[in-house]
Every structure is written in structure tokens, then in C-alpha cells.
């Protein structure tokens, strides 16, 4: 089966510009996560979706970050305006079961550099 697809793989922008990342989950996976991985740190959860509903967005900087999952399939994560500290790899991960066993399926990530 196809894995989790993310695009773009790399993006370089100036501060105060906007950027959007896209994630296509494994078919049928209802749970979708966006993690932010800053260099030298572990992934930090930004937002979690169950189908098209938000389960947890407590660590999402809502003044600049937004995310949606229309129709409960693809998801987009947007940053506007970007700051230097947003430079990171943005990971999308999905899970397809009813009881979360912790085996998430990750995409290759989208690396953002803010200059």
C-alpha cells in the first residue's frame, strides 16, 4: 500500500511570508497528526485530527499556524506569517485503527527554512 505522502519536501521562504504543506494519508487512516521537528529536538505535536475533526491543537500557535482536513482525507498545514523560529521539518503521521497501538506511519517530512 502507498505510504503517507507529503509535499513539498523542501521550502525556503523569507520571514513574514506564508507557506503551506500538504499531507495525503494512507487510505482509510482516520487519525492524522502534524508534528514539528526542530533541529536537535524531538518531534512536537502541533495538531491531531480524527477524520475531519480536531482532537488536540493545544500546542498549535494559532496566531500564525492553521490546519485543516477537509473531507477527512488530505490535510494542509499553513504558516502565515512565518518567523525564523519556524524553521523545522514538518512531519505528517497517520494511524488507521480503532485502538491506537502507537504504530504511526510517517511521511518523509517537509523541511522549511525561514530566512
Amino acid at each position: 500500500e502507498a505510504g503517507v505522502a507529503q509535499s513539498p519536501r523542501y521550502k525556503i521562504i523569507e520571514k513574514r511570508q506564508s507557506v503551506a504543506f500538504w499531507c495525503n494519508p494512507i487510505s482509510g487512516h482516520a487519525t492524522l497528526y502534524w508534528y514539528q521537528q526542530i533541529l536537535g529536538q524531538g518531534p512536537k505535536l502541533l495538531i491531531q485530527f480524527q477524520n475531519n475533526g480536531v482532537v488536540d491543537d493545544s500546542q498549535l500557535p494559532k496566531d500564525r499556524f492553521s490546519a485543516e482536513r477537509l473531507k477527512g482525507v488530505d490535510s494542509t498545514l499553513k504558516i502565515q506569517p512565518a518567523k525564523l523560529e519556524d524553521s523545522a521539518v514538518y512531519l505528517c503521521a497517520t494511524f488507521g485503527g480503532m485502538v491506537n497501538t502507537g504504530e504511526l506511519f510517517f511521511g518523509e517530512g517537509s523541511r522549511l527554512t525561514v530566512l
Binding site: G40, P43, V55, M98, V99, T101, G102, F106
Partner: protein, 117 residues
């Protein structure tokens, strides 16, 4: 709140040797899961091994095994017969065990393992 600590930012091992990566965690939960994830350079993160806290027996997956010390809140990963393909960032992770699809993984800061030929 749960925390996961990996105190070894980088480690190196010779091919075919054994290496142990350390992880400690803090939680007041009694039911939880622990994981080791592997992130190869420029490739997606994958699950290496999983341990349920209620199980006393340490999990093993081929060359990978864990030493789970619940009282000490310690969860180390042992890689035997190290191979060049084991070169990667390894993350220790924690998840509450109350079930449901709303659980989330909490990651440590990672250990970069280099396997030397």
C-alpha cells in the same frame, strides 16, 4: 505531564558490535506504552519496537531488544550485530494507554547513532 529524556545526543558503534541507547521517562500513569522509533537520514520515521507497561517481559524484534525497568522509569534499546543500515536518529517515545484513537506520542530529543564499517 509526561516527559521523555534521552541523555545521549550521539553514539557510535562498530559494525557487528552491540550498542545500547538510553531513555528515561516520567509519568504518573500506570497504563502506557513505550516505543523506539528510527529515523534514517532523509527517510521517514518507522517503528522499531514497542513495549506495553503492563508486560514484565522485555520486547524483542530480531536484533533489537529493550530493557524495561518500570520502577526506575527506564527504557533502553539494545541493538545487536549492528549493521550499516542501523545508522539513524533513534527516538524514544511514550503514549498513554487508555485506548482510543485520540492518543498521541510524546518523543524524546533523539540519539544519533552512527555505525562505523
Amino acid at each position: 505531564a509526561q516527559t521523555v529524556t534521552q541523555s545521549q545526543p550521539e553514539m557510535s558503534v562498530q559494525e557487528a558490535e552491540t550498542v545500547t541507547l538510553s531513555c528515561t521517562y516520567d509519568t504518573s500513569e500506570n497504563n502506557y506504552y513505550l516505543f523506539w522509533y528510527k529515523q534514517p537520514p532523509s527517510r521517514q520515521m518507522i517503528l522499531v519496537i514497542r513495549q506495553e507497561a503492563y508486560k514484565q517481559q522485555n520486547a524483542t524484534e530480531n536484533r533489537f531488544s529493550v530493557n524495561f525497568q518500570k520502577a526506575a522509569k527506564s527504557f533502553s534499546l539494545k541493538i545487536s550485530d549492528s549493521q550499516l543500515g542501523d545508522t539513524a536518529m533513534y527516538f524514544c517515545a511514550f503514549m498513554k494507554g487508555y485506548g482510543g484513537a485520540t492518543n498521541k506520542l510524546i518523543f524524546g530529543t533523539g540519539t544519533l547513532l552512527a555505525v562505523q564499517p
